[in-house]
């Protein structure tokens, strides 16, 4: 560069060549007045021109197709942006594609989501459409001989029965209710029925319907029988807690006997009722015969003998069973 003018060193010459502002006020002729500076200027200028040309030539030859695609992509997202729902979808799709391409974890999550979505209709089919499997219900019948009870009957031990004052803790209404709703009572008379072989003796095996038609009357009779049994069992320790119930049951039995006698009824069940009455009378429980009407007593009289016979037979059978 110029050795005579330190103002125009290489840096300044370069600035003069490249920067318009540096050229202001310094025409080329002024610089080229010095031959060596002119040569230096021409040399640097040629170098810069060569570099510029070569670099620009490089930038003019990128892959044309990818460049066109890039331009299309830019225009699609700027001046030619599709503002309809299709454009929105394309935008979201493009975003998802980019994200999926850049993250392995996201790809795994997306694949998992796809699998779950694909499985959903199958689960829906089994959950809502497919017929429910029919439940299999099996009944286990008790093994053993016909007529034999499927359990062992245990007679109450008199010594273990509680001693209570008559009527303690029991109202009349509760006692009456117990005749119709007491599950234990129903169970007891059913047991009693079987225990005394009544099903066979009186032909009650016609089926549950016949049996149920008689249920309330038969239940009353057998309930009385059961209570009398308990009364006998607890005789050694005094009057038991069932005494008030027995009183009420006998009251009901009395009114039933009165109704039956008034209607002139006659059947196997009347014999049973008579036997229960007879047994109560002998045990000294409940109301006396005097409380029955004359008509009722006359109706009852012919039935007492068979009832007594049945009572004795049943007692004998029970004793035999116990002995066995």
């Amino acid at each position: 560069m110029s050795e005579h003018d330190p103002k125009w060193d290489d840096e300044a010459l370069l600035a003069w060549l490249l920067d318009e502002a540096s050229r202001a006020g310094h025409p080329r002729a002024e610089l080229e007045r010095d031959a060596r500076r002119a040569a230096r200027l021409a040399e640097v200028e040629a170098f810069l021109t060569d570099c510029r040309e070569e670099l620009r030539a490089e930038s003019r030859e990128p892959e044309p197709e990818s460049l066109r695609e890039l331009e299309r992509r830019v225009l699609r997202r700027t001046t030619r942006e599709d503002v309809s729902w299709r454009g929105d979808l394309r935008l979201v799709g493009g975003f998802l594609r980019t994200r999926l391409r850049s993250s392995v974890l996201l790809r795994v999550v997306a694949a998992s989501l796809l699998v779950h979505l694909a499985a959903l209709p199958v689960l829906a089919y089994f959950g809502w459409i497919a017929p429910e499997p029919t439940p299999r219900i099996a009944f286990e019948l008790p093994t053993g001989r016909e007529g034999e009870l499927p359990y062992r009957e245990v007679e109450p031990d008199a010594a273990q029965l509680p001693v209570e004052a008559p009527g303690e803790g029991l109202s009349e209404e509760a006692a009456l209710d117990s005749l119709s709703t007491d599950g234990e009572a129903e169970r007891l008379w059913r047991e009693h029925l079987k225990r005394h072989g009544l099903v066979d003796l009186h032909g009650f095996s016609g089926g549950p319907r016949v049996f149920e038609a008689w249920a309330s009357e038969l239940g009353l009779v057998l309930y009385c029988e059961t209570l009398l049994d308990r009364r006998e069992a607890s005789a050694s320790v005094g009057r038991g807690r069932h005494e008030p119930q027995l009183e009420f049951a006998l009251d009901h039995l009395r009114s039933w006997l009165s109704r039956s006698s008034a209607a002139g009824a006659d059947g196997a069940l009347d014999v049973l009722a008579a036997s229960a009455w007879l047994r109560a009378r002998e045990a000294g429980a409940g109301a006396a015969d005097a409380e029955l009407s004359a008509r009722c007593r006359s109706w009852l009289a012919p039935r007492l003998a068979p009832g007594e016979l049945f009572l004795r037979g049943a007692a004998w059978r029970a004793a035999f069973e116990r002995a066995r």
Partner: protein, 201 residues
């Protein structure tokens, strides 16, 4: 840049006036310019395409608030340079990728300098670019980024020192100095190359 994009041809002024044609023409004409600019700065071809797209999108979004205060191309290169810096920062903060061949162990560099080094293109990428680029491009790739940017903006894009100073946010004197050193080093590299070639032969 292949043309002037100022006054009535300013793409953003036209856009604001409802005329997209200059912007579209600018995109079609200058995509290759920006692509080459980013490639020379060290971006891979995919990265360069992303960056070019980012620049155009940023320009498009600036249309509403744009106030022309100089040549449009200077403004466009300012956006491009910012996009490049953002890219560099993102790369620097991202974990290093073993596939680049820089750190097979996958250990993350903790020092900022190490992170910056990690964000630079790997040797394989540099070698690939040298093969792709011509003699000058390859030599330019050996300059520091500061020198490369000044040379690129001043010599190739023909921006004034003042514009370069505004783009790079450095004093004009620094631009002048960097340009001088960039040219001197580039000349040295280009003069050295034939001698190296002869020696190898």
């Amino acid at each position: 840049m292949t043309g002037t994009w100022d006054s009535e041809r300013d793409p953003l002024v036209a856009l604001r006036g409802g005329d997209p044609a200059p912007f579209e023409a600018f995109v079609v004409a200058e995509s290759s310019t920006f692509l080459a600019f980013f490639r020379r700065l060290g971006a891979s071809s995919g990265e360069a395409e992303d960056l070019v797209q980012e620049v155009f999108l940023k320009l498009f979004r600036h249309a509403d608030t744009y106030e022309p205060s100089g040549r449009f191309r200077a403004f466009a290169f300012r956006i491009a340079r910012n996009a490049w810096i953002d890219r560099r920062r993102r790369l620097a903060s991202a974990p290093r990728v073993a596939a680049r061949g820089e750190d097979a162990s996958g250990e993350e560099a903790e020092e900022p300098l190490a992170r910056e080094v990690a964000s630079l293109p790997g040797p394989a990428l540099i070698a690939e670019r040298r093969e792709e680029a011509g003699r000058v491009g390859a030599a330019l790739g050996q300059l520091s980024e500061g020198h490369r940017l000044v040379f690129e903006l001043g010599v190739v894009q023909e921006l004034s020192y003042q514009e370069i100073a505004r783009i790079l946010e450095i004093p004009e004197g620094t631009v002048k100095s960097r340009m001088f050193h960039a040219v001197r080093k580039l000349r040295a590299l280009l003069e050295e190359e034939p001698r190296r070639g002869r020696a190898q032969a």
